[in-house]
Subunit: 342 residues, 2 copies
């Protein structure tokens, strides 16, 4: 089975991935931040019992955060399979992960349940279908906290209603480079959307990767929220493509210089930090996007961007490594992966 980051999807020159996540809580339990460990165990067991009824249940594995070592925990996060919030829930947190890594059900993150579906490229349709299906299945077997007027209840009021957050991870180097990010952020906020860093709220944008998502969850139907978001993403895609074309036509030498220097550094560095590598990989991806770098797939860059994160490197060696060693191994991984590109 192909993992999400190994596949390709629509509009993949701009949209790296599409994510749908649905927040749900169970009646009769306090929210996770107020819960005792015993209560969380009981809830977890109830979810596992429900999951036994799932037709493809054998494709899911169940993992408790406390059973993972710190490197493994972060490594799941680096793959975007679990959230930074769940990593913190060492005592109560757990998750169900489908083998193809498309669906995760997180237990006792900020809410009792968070269903996450991840697809490569722009694919809200399948994202919504898969997450909606899992939501319906769980609702059939669990007693969700629901309020006639407000809709689904959540730990944080910003998620009340649909509990839905839809997002697309976009690679927008040309918009970022030409100083358009300020306008974009303002414009998105005005229409109830938000733009965030690589690992969600409060995290940094690395490698010109941004997550654009809906901010409001209340007062509109899920399909409407997704449609509105999708329309905006398409505008961002078109704007980014325009800017790329303009860069290519008006600053060809500067663009080639930037792209190829980054390739040269990635192909020759013996030590490289995650932050620097992300920035050069973003430039190489831009080179692919404008057609001056060939013989490599977008998914190879996405995979490499995950592989070179600190925990993923340490997981490969199954041990804690010091920072210099991580920087050395990161450079080795990148050189090996890019050796065929000229």
């Amino acid at each position: 089975m192909t993992k999400w980051f190994e596949g390709s999807g629509p509009e993949e020159d701009v949209v790296v991935s599409t994510r749908i996540r649905i927040a749900r809580n169970l009646e009769g339990y306090r929210f996770p931040h107020r819960m005792s460990i015993e209560e969380s165990e009981k809830l977890t067991q109830e979810v596992l019992d429900a999951m036994k009824n799932l037709s493809d249940k054998s494709n899911y594995k169940f993992i408790r955060i406390r059973d993972l070592n710190p490197i493994e925990r972060i490594s799941y996060m680096e793959k975007h399979l679990i959230s930074p919030g769940l990593v913190q829930k060492v005592n109560m947190g757990s998750f169900l992960l489908r083998d193809d890594e498309v669906i995760t059900v997180m237990i006792n993150e900020e809410d009792h349940l968070r269903i996450q579906v991840l697809f490569p490229g722009l694919n809200f349709e399948e994202g919504w279908e898969y997450s909606n299906e899992m939501d319906s299945f769980l609702e059939d077997h669990l007693n969700f906290a629901f309020h006639e007027e407000f809709g689904y209840l959540t730990a944080c009021p910003t998620n009340v209603g649909t509990g839905l957050r839809a997002s697309a991870m976009v690679h927008i180097p040309s918009l970022a480079m030409s100083g358009h990010m300020g306008y974009l952020i303002q414009g998105l906020n005005k229409i109830g959307l938000t733009i965030r860093g690589l690992y969600g709220e409060g995290t940094e944008a690395l490698g010109n990767l941004y997550q654009i998502s809906n901010q409001t969850t209340l007062g509109e139907k899920e399909e409407k929220i997704i449609e509105k978001l999708k329309n905006v993403i398409i505008q961002v895609i078109n704007k980014e493509r325009d800017m790329r074309e303009s860069l290519f036509n008006n600053q060809r030498y500067q663009l080639e210089n930037m792209v190829f220097r980054s390739l040269g550094i990635l192909k020759y560095a013996r030590l490289i930090s995650s932050k620097e590598a992300m920035s050069h990989l973003s430039n190489v991806r831009l080179g692919m996007e404008v057609g001056i770098i060939k013989d490599i797939k977008f998914s190879d860059i996405t995979e490499l961007m995950i592989e070179i994160q600190p925990a993923s490197i340490q997981e490969k060696f199954n041990m804690e490594l010091d920072n210099e060693r991580i920087d050395v191994e990161r450079a080795n991984i990148i050189r090996e992966r890019l050796k065929h590109i000229e």
Copy 2:
């Protein structure tokens, strides 16, 4: 015939080239800064008449600065064949250049005559032999201004006596990198030596290349001045080699990272300034010096360092180019020259 920068010489891992220059003036003429154009013409003719007696005179070409276009003038300077001072002397300056570019006789630079001999590597012996021979020949046919007590008279008092300046151009990246330059400059000044940039007095040190030369020309015999300088250069060579070994043994990863990143940038950049290129070429040369970069000769780097200077690039195209075009062509030249290095 091999040009000086195409050949190899002793201790070439540190010493790029050795230069001897002798300043001489003719009786009965004012110094160049006070001279009329007519006077300078008369002097030039007298020197050319003297040169007719030279046994290998057919190997010399005579070039007037005013007959060169601005690009050609600077290009001779970039090859170190004439001095920045002579380039300024558009109306009176001229020079005789031997075909192998080892010997230049500059006319009406700061002094009436400046004999320059240039050899690759550390080679004061041949440098002194060639320059002394030319000096003796010219003295036989011209009336040199000489004072019983002071020796040869020169336009600037710092050259009075022997009129000799001996220098070695050294590549000392490890000394520079480890913060030893301050001590080195102080130490050299204390013993009457001086250290300067790439094109002599008042010029910048690019690519970790420095010229070490004698400061005093009075009160000691030529052989003594040269011997003293040579002994100090040997100490600098040994110190630089020690520092390289220490870098290699103690900071292997950092060293390899620096060297290979520079190689990567040089092999991939599409635009590069002269200053940046010199700095990366210096790192690549350091890589050769410590044995981690192979399949390239020191003289290739020396040649490349000359070829990528602005006037040399424009001379190749036989036209003035704008700065961006120069940076593009520089990057092209470097990529082509380094394409076989991995």
